[in-house]
Structures are given as C-alpha cells and as structure tokens.
Symmetry: C7
Subunit: 74 residues, 7 copies
C-alpha cells in the first residue's frame, strides 16, 4: 500500500476553505485553488487577518511558499 505524502493532504483540500499561517504572523483564509511542490499557493475569496482582525479582502492571491508555516482547514 502506498504511503501517504504531504501533498496528498493539500490535494484533498482543493476548492475547500483553508487558513494559511505565514512566518510574519499574518493569516490568509480562502479557497485553495492551486499549489505546487514549493508550496506556492493560490487562494480565492481571500481574507487577510492580522492579530485575528480582517485587514484586507482580495479576489485571488498568489502566496510564495517559503513564507508559509502551516495550511489547515478553515
């Protein structure tokens, strides 16, 4: 039986709402539309939260993988 790989978990989260925690403390919440092996990510319907408060809303966001700590379901 094939063993689970981390990117499988991201694949299951496609088109679902996720929270992305960045190294600078910010969070981005949105629909996971795309990702690659560098963990570059595209979200749709995105909220940016700083200290838990919504600061910005954007239709789509490309987030560079090396700034990401964690991706979890919203």
């Amino acid at each position: 039986m094939a063993e689970a790989r981390p990117l499988d978990a991201l694949n299951k989260a496609r088109d679902k709402k996720v929270i992305i925690d960045l190294k600078n403390g910010r969070q981005y919440i949105g629909l996971l539309k795309a990702f690659d092996i560098h963990i570059n990510v595209v979200l749709d319907d995105v909220e940016e939260r700083i200290d838990g408060e919504v600061k910005r809303k954007v239709g789509t966001a490309f987030i560079r993988g090396d700034t990401i700590i964690m991706i979890s379901p919203a």
Copy 2:
C-alpha cells in the same frame, strides 16, 4: 482535466494591475509584465508604498522573487 498550478494564476494576471507585498513590509503596485519560476517579477508603471503611502514611482521594476510574500490583483 489538468489541475490548476499557481503560475497559471500569475499568467492570467499578465498586463493587469497587481499589488506585490514584500517581506520588508513594502508594497509595489504596477502592471505585471513578466515572471519566472523563482517568482522574479517585472512590473511597469510602479508605485512603491510604505505604510500605505506612495514613496516612489518608477517606470519599470525588477523584483527578486525571494523577497515576495503575496501577489494579488490591485
């Protein structure tokens, strides 16, 4: 059906106005003219914003990918 890749989202944003958030807190707003797999980016008609204020305007800017956090439509 092929799955979406993050660079497809950047490709759709070509010649459109984008906001780029850098790790140092600055923002660059301009027309996305080019990008590569390192997320090196070229913008035209660029405004540099620090704390929301326009600090500089340049005709074109090459931005090194490893300084970038997020790219979103302006």
Copy 3:
C-alpha cells in the same frame, strides 16, 4: 547491515502522536500522517501550543518543513 537514516525514525512514528517544535517557538502536537524529504509534515488531531498553552485545535495541518526544528514522540 544497512545504517539507520533519519527518515526511518519518522517512518516508525507514522500514525503515532508527535510534538513538532517550530522555529517561531510554537509547538504542534498530533498524529503523524505523512512527511517527505523536505520534512513537510501532515498531522491529524492537532493542538497548537504557545508557551505551553493550547491556542488552537485543527483536524489536520500541513506544516512546511523549513519551519521545523525538532520532531519527537508526544
């Protein structure tokens, strides 16, 4: 006799409860479901602890490898 490799230790920890210490001081405790050579990791039934206190619980978490210091049994 083959010599032990670090990823063998992670392999033995599959489906077991682990603590992951991150560079930003946070800890994530959960069941180790997947990992890869970059030490990208997926945990299930995850608790986030800051200064020893539980701050958040999530069903599953993808953690980017380059933010990780240590993985040990919980």
Copy 4:
C-alpha cells in the same frame, strides 16, 4: 509570440543607469554592466546611498544577488 521573461527587462537595462535596493536598506546607483540568473550584478560608476545620502563611490561593484530586492531605472 514568446512571453516576456524577467531577465529580458534586465537585458534592456544593460549599460543604463539603475538603482538597486538591497535587503539592508542601502541603495546602489550605477551603470548595469552584467547580471546572471542568480541576479548577481555588476555596476560601474557606483554610488552607495544610505538613507538617501551618498556614502561611498566606487568604480565598479559586484553585488551578490541574494541581497537584492529591486532593480529599477535611475
């Protein structure tokens, strides 16, 4: 039609005066003589500016790419 690549923009700037913004806040202004895929750069007739003030002038400077944020026309 071939799509634009970021290094094309640097190529057009050869022998022209550019400003390079570094991660440490300094700026180098000079003629762009050479660059490579790591964005290592060589400038001629270089001024180093800290907080907008000229601090040093050198005939030529090799600048390591990973210290660079942005390159724009001077």
Copy 5:
C-alpha cells in the same frame, strides 16, 4: 590515501553521546543514531538544555539539519 570528509566524523560518533548546538541557542544531548547529507539527525535518550538547564527529556528526537550549528562529543 583518501582525504577525510566531515561526514566520516559523524559516522564515528554513531551510537555515542553527542551535544548538538542549535541556532536558537538550545542544546540537545543524546546518542547519535542516524544522520544524512542535510545533517538531519536522530538522537536517542535526549536531554534538551536551555542556558545549561535540562528542560525536557525525550526518548528519541529528529532534528532538522538547517537548525544545527555544531555537533560534538558529550
């Protein structure tokens, strides 16, 4: 005669007690069970020391190589 390589020194330290100094100032003391070319390391019977004081004991620890400064015999 073949010249010595750094990983040979780690190889000789297998199953021996070592001190690992991390970039965040912490030390991990334990038996060196495994390592790879990234200097990812597995220790057994591990003590975590902060400012010289034992803070935690774990049966086994996977330590990501890029957090390590030095490995020396304990």
Copy 6:
C-alpha cells in the same frame, strides 16, 4: 559579441586589492586570490574592519559566499 557576466568582473580583480562588504556590517580588505560560483572567496593580506576601524589582520582568509553583499576595488 558575448555579453559580460558578473564573474568576469571578479576575474579581472584577481590579485588586486578589493573590499568585501558582509551582511553583518564588517569589511574585509585584501588581495583577491580565488573565488567560485557560490562567491566563496579567498583573500590574502587581509584587514578586518568594523565601523571603519581595523580590528584584525590575517595572512589569508576564506570567506563563505552567502555572507557577502558586495565586492569592489579597494
């Protein structure tokens, strides 16, 4: 006509006196004896300067490339 590459500029500086600016603010002044594609560098007759003051003199110094910001003629 072949285009100039950044390492050509370093090549012309061989056996000449250069100043190397490091990310930690220190400067090393000496004769450029060797370099490689990582910009690892060897200097001879080296002065270390901190805040413009000579702090140390060494016969030869190997400097790791990823600590270097700029190399210019002394």
Copy 7:
C-alpha cells in the same frame, strides 16, 4: 595555468590550526581535519570563544557550513 579555487586554500590548511568565525559571533579555534563543498568542517582540539573568552573545549567538532562566515589561520 589552472586558476586558484577557494577550496584549494582550505586544502592547504588541513591539519593546521584555524579560526572559524560563525554568524552568531562565536569563534572556534582548532586543527582543520576535514571539509566539504558545503563548507561543513571538522576541527580537532577545539576551543569555543565568545567575546574573545574561551567558553568550552571539545576534542572534535563538526560545524555546519551555513553557519560559517570566515576561516583563517590561527
């Protein structure tokens, strides 16, 4: 005539006493026994110095290359 490469200088320093300056400000003085292309280094008869004071002595030390700024003769 072949041009000098930086690792040649390290090779000449084998079995000789060197000072290694790390990014965290510490110095390690010892006999250079081994190194590789990542500048991972093994020293024997090692003194650790912080602010010029000897803090620790170890028989042998593996030092990870990416923490090193400079290697020079002691």
